[in-house]
């Protein structure tokens, strides 16, 4: 378009654009794109020590062998099941709670809205490691009111069981991330034109019906985005189980895919399998985000 008349200007602008983008692009290539390519390369090779282990390792092309070994590992597959179950518990509860709280904040009855937003958001700035540390103490029998409540209700609470461990970790995540989404949903609700809500009120809809039938569907875009980012974050689950692991027999070192990759690199030094696992993991995550966006946008259409 601008090519004919002001090519000097456009060349100058292209030069400026290059200067502004270059620092980011170079770092982005070096820390994201190249590592992805390197992972693909690594996943096709294997380091094999020759004979008696003398003379160093030799890099051998092994085709898809690393992928079959990763997929063949039961703990790797179980990791996806664990993360899937975790998402199934954590995401509906967290998004539901965040939506409910945002609708309540948006209602005419709520007081001290600013205070509630700040207080609810606060856990989000707490490092995951420290959140897990705090909650871990709160899960310790004898120290914890949480465990006491469970026991007084006659419910067992054994952090060594798979279900309790999963619930304990889901609770930490819900605690950390609900407030963040409350803020996002609340802002989206505030952006709804007031006439729409007034129209619903004039039509005789009560506050609850307006909230559920009018307001909630109108912020679907924000909900979809929140679910998408939550799925991506939740599937990478690492820090919390890594912390609680020492206290719960249910959590092994390869409990989630991210933990599997970490163990493969840091403990087993099986780089080929770790690379293959990383790629499979990234592909599954990509597929999950695709499903989330596709499924929800079709419903929106």
């Amino acid at each position: 378009m601008s090519r004919s008349a002001s090519s000097a200007l456009s060349r100058r602008q292209r030069g400026a654009a290059a200067v502004f983008i270059a620092p980011f692009l170079i770092l982005f290539l070096a820390t994201t794109i190249v590592p992805v390519g390197y992972a693909v390369w690594l996943s096709l090779y294997s380091e094999q020590t020759s004979g008696l282990g003398f003379g160093g390792a030799e890099t051998v092309f092994v085709g898809l062998d690393n992928f079959t070994r990763a997929l063949g590992s039961e703990s790797f597959r179980d990791g996806f099941v664990t993360v899937g179950l975790y998402c199934a518990v954590y995401i509906p509860v967290m998004i539901g709670a965040a939506l409910l709280l945002a609708l309540l904040l948006d209602s005419a009855y709520a007081r001290a809205k600013r205070f509630f937003q700040l207080a609810l958001y606060l856990p989000n700035v707490i490092p995951g490691l420290i959140a897990a540390t705090i909650w871990f103490y709160l899960y310790t029998p004898g120290l914890s009111p949480v465990v006491d409540v469970f026991e007084s209700l006659g419910l067992g609470w054994d952090i060594n069981s798979y279900g309790a461990a999963l619930g304990a970790i889901a609770n930490i995540a819900i605690w950390q991330h609900t407030g963040y989404n409350v803020i996002i949903f609340f802002a989206a609700l505030q952006a709804i034109p007031r006439e729409v809500i007034e129209a619903a009120t004039v039509d005789g809809a009560g506050a609850v019906r307006t909230a559920l039938k009018v307001k909630a569907p109108l912020i679907r875009g924000a909900l979809v985005l929140a679910v998408l980012f939550t799925v991506i974050g939740a599937m990478q689950l690492f820090t919390e189980p890594q912390i609680i692991r020492t206290e719960s027999a249910a959590i092994g070192g390869e409990w989630t895919p991210a933990m599997f990759i970490y163990t493969a690199v840091a403990e087993r030094h099986d780089y080929g399998q770790a690379a293959a696992a990383s790629i499979i993991f990234a592909v599954v995550l990509g597929a999950a985000s695709f499903v989330v966006t596709r499924f929800t946008s079709r419903r929106a259409a």
């Binding site: 378009m1 200007l9 100058r12 602008q13 292209r14 400026a16 502004f20 983008i21 980011f24 692009l25 770092l27 820390t31 994201t32 794109i33 390197y38 992972a39 309540l104 904040l105 209602s107 009855y109 709520a110 007081r111 509630f116 937003q117 609810l120 958001y121 606060l122 989000n124 700035v125 707490i126 490092p127 995951g128 490691l129 420290i130 540390t133 705090i134 103490y137 709160l138 004898g142 120290l143 605690w175 996002i184 802002a187 989206a188 004039v202 039509d203 009560g206 924000a222 599937m235 990478q236 690492f238 991210a258 990759i261 970490y262 840091a266 780089y271 990383s278 993991f281 990234a282 995550l285």
Partner: protein, 303 residues
Amino acid sequence: MSVSTLDRPRTAAGAPPAPAPRRGVHTPLLSRAVVNTVLVLATVWTVLPLTWLLISSTKDFAALFGSGGFEFAGFHLTDNLRGLFAEENGIFLRWMLNSVLYAGAGALLGSFISLCAGYAFDKYAFPGKEKVFGLVLVGVLVPAAATAMPLYLMASKLGLTNTFWSVFLPGLVNPFGVYLARVFSSSFVPGELLEASRVDGAGELFGFFRISLPLLRPAFATLFLFSFTAGWNSFYLPLLMLSDHHLYPVSLGLYQWKTTLAVIPDRYPLVIIGSLVAVLPVVLAFFSLQRHWKAGLTSGAVK
């Protein structure tokens, strides 16, 4: 369903009255009580664990295991603090300063890099722009848990593992920040203003530093707050990259102490007071920049 006498019985009857329905005198009061009670309960739930941290940081080892989680028992806050900064020749302070460098300096530089890139994507036309931007958006979706492993091996080939840079440089890259910066730039910096400065003969760098950057200051604050929080909380990459305790960020240092608790139980109070001290900078940053934080969160989500 339960019987609720205070509900409006009319609407259920199916004859919507033409004017706005008259509510029972008690309904708003009840609703107000219910709404605010739920909000208060949720707040209690978010604040309670932090209260526990606050109370526990005043206890010594015996009181920690000998008293309820939410009751005071002796006041040893200063003892704990002294112990915290004395342990292992005061390495905790070193960890805090490392975190300030990784997260603070990293967020300053990283936010500036994101802002420049987002600004260029918004204000300039160049070949392949949307393709490159698409790549950036894909970068938002690439899981850090998957790139950390090849990144570690690359750093190891270059002899960069166990160095400051192995944690600092990856922390500068924030594709989502670039996306946010583009949104900010398009809503905060009017293109006509730049056109006018070009007509006056000003260069592109002048336009950015003298005209656009001042307008983008709130955007910068938002990006800084997010990167700072993310950097302060980062755990996976430092865990892979670093083995020298002196290079640890505070999160990794506390983790390392935590893993030794079975052998050195005396460190229980130190891990707790250390967690409290480690949380303070992020909480302070959050409260001092709270004006910007909401603008940033929502402009990314609503648009």
